[in-house]
């Protein structure tokens, strides 16, 4: 597991998504962590020091694992670029199929309630076909 800088992590994550388009999955795990061992934590508790927690983000494609840690200050920026990466690569998900079908059904029903619109559209269509 390599601990990377947030920017580097995102570019590695991008290439992970690109490599796994034909087969394979990508896992991204988020966990709250102080990045310190148990003993160290106990020491800090004894001394009454405040422990700084970060968000540990790990990613894996089954072969390679990368990780980064995001602090309170960085997280808004990281979150935004992370969302951009996800948006850019999650395009295999289905787009509102059911709603489209419903829309089609609504369109069939619509003429009964709003006949004017239908006339307009039909006249446009016919004029379009003529020209």
């Amino acid at each position: 597991m390599v601990l990377l800088q947030p920017d580097r992590f995102l570019s590695e994550l991008t290439s992970m998504y690109e490599r796994s388009t034909e087969k394979g999955s990508v896992w991204v795990t988020m966990k709250r962590s102080s990045l310190k061992g148990k003993a160290q934590l106990q020491k800090m508790e004894k001394k009454g020091k405040e422990v700084e927690y970060r968000c540990l983000v790990r990613a894996s494609d089954g072969k390679k694992s990368i990780s980064t840690s995001v602090s309170l200050k960085e997280y808004a920026k990281f979150q935004a670029s992370y969302a951009t990466v996800l948006k850019a690569h999650m395009h295999a998900l289905k787009k509102r199929e059911r709603k489209d079908r419903k829309k089609a059904a609504d369109a069939e029903k619509a003429p009964e309630t709003v006949p004017k619109k239908q006339k307009k559209s039909s006249s446009k269509k016919s004029s379009g076909s003529k020209s």
Binding site: S20, E22, R32, Q79, H89, A92, K102
Partner: protein
Amino acid sequence: MVYVDSWDEFVERSVQLFRADPSATRYVMKYRHCEGKLVLKVTDDRECLKFKTDQAQDAKKMEKLNNIVFALMTRGPDADISEVSGKEPAEQQQSKKGRGRRQ
């Protein structure tokens, strides 16, 4: 382990799980491009919550959950997530309406 069907329930229970044990709870997002599947998992190794989807609109909801999780994990379990989760109330309402129509 069972898949949670309702998105709102999944979010609510995930937040509860995290708040109960912040340092042991993790959030995993698995995306499989070739099958177009997205699986979200929140677990503390005792209880496991999962949500599976193949719909693009759920990716938007997931983005919001990412926001919530980031906020909780960096700011701590007591962080106020209402501003993160309720940032776009108009959009939330729309998605609710949409769900109603489709059912």
